[in-house]
Amino acid sequence: MDLSLSTRTEGDRTVVVVGGEIDVYTAPKLREQLIDLVSSGQYHLVVDMEGVEFLDSTGLGVLVGGLKRVRAHEGSLRLVCTQERILKIFRITGLTKVFPIHTSVEEAVAATD
C-alpha cells in the first residue's frame, strides 16, 4: 500500500524501482529521491514502474518534474511499464508523448535516442 523505493546502477544509468502507491500522500518521497539522484550527478534515470499499484496526477507531476530536472543536464528519464491500468493514466494525459516507455529494464537501459 505504501510507496517502496530502491535504486541501483547499471552502467551509466540509474534504475529506480518503485512499488506500491504513488499518490498525493507518497509522491513527495519519490520527488525527493529523484532530486537526490540529480543533485548527486545521476542524469540518466530509468524508473521501473512494474510494481506500482496506483498512480495519480501528483505522481505524474513528480515524474514530469524529474524529467525536467534531468533534461536541464542533458539527461534522460525512461519509464518501464507494461501494466495496462498504469499505461492508461499516461495515455489519457498525453504523457506517452513525453516519456519513453519501455517493456523491460534491459530495453530501457540499452536505449539511446
Binding site: 499518490d23 498525493v24 505524474l60 514530469v64 492508461k88
Partner: protein, 160 residues
C-alpha cells in the same frame, strides 16, 4: 439505498481513506470487480484535486464525498469549495517540455494541478460530470450495478 458520506479536512492522508471507503462501499454494493480499479483511480483523483484546492484556498472547509447505491447505480460525488473549475483540457502534455508542470505552479510542492486531475478523471470515467458552481465544483461519477446482485452490504440491520 445505502449512503455513505465522508467529510475530510484537506490532508493528503485522507485521500487514502476516501479511496478505501469508496472501494469498500462499492464492493459491498455489488460493483463488478473489473470496475473497482477505475473507481479507485477516479475517486483518488477527484479527492486529491479537491484536497489540494482546499489546502490552498479553503483550509478550514471539509471536502465532501458521497457514495450512494440506488436505482441509478453507484453514484459517487466529490464536492469542493475551491475556485470553480474551468473547461477540462484535452491534452495536458502540451507545454510540458517548455516548462509547464503537472504538479501545479508551485514547483516546491506536490500539489495536484486541478486541470490535470479533471482531464484524467473525465478520461477515465465516461460518465463523469464536472459542474462548476458558485461555491466550488461538484464532480459526479456513476457506475452501473448488477440489477439482481445487491451485495450483503445492502442488507438492512433488521433484515435477518
Amino acid at each position: 439505498m445505502a449512503v455513505v458520506e465522508l467529510l475530510l479536512s484537506p490532508l493528503a492522508a485522507h485521500v487514502r481513506t476516501a479511496r478505501l471507503v469508496t472501494v469498500t462501499a462499492a464492493r459491498r454494493a455489488g460493483l463488478e470487480d473489473g470496475l473497482l480499479d477505475e473507481l479507485r483511480f477516479a475517486v483518488g483523483e477527484a479527492c486529491s484535486r479537491a484536497v489540494g484546492l482546499h489546502a490552498r484556498h479553503a483550509p478550514g472547509v471539509l471536502v465532501r464525498v458521497t457514495i450512494e447505491d440506488g436505482p441509478a447505480g453507484l453514484v459517487v460525488t466529490v464536492v469542493d469549495a475551491g475556485p470553480a473549475a474551468g473547461p477540462v483540457p484535452d491534452d495536458v502534455s502540451a507545454g510540458i517540455v517548455e516548462g509547464g508542470d503537472l504538479a501545479g505552479d508551485d514547483g516546491e510542492h506536490d500539489l495536484v494541478d486541478p486541470d490535470v486531475a479533471l482531464a484524467l478523471l473525465t478520461g477515465l470515467v465516461d460518465t463523469a460530470t464536472v459542474e462548476p458552481g458558485v461555491t466550488g465544483t461538484t464532480v459526479t461519477m456513476r457506475w452501473p450495478l448488477p440489477v439482481a446482485a445487491r451485495g450483503p452490504g445492502a442488507t438492512a440491520v433488521s433484515d435477518t
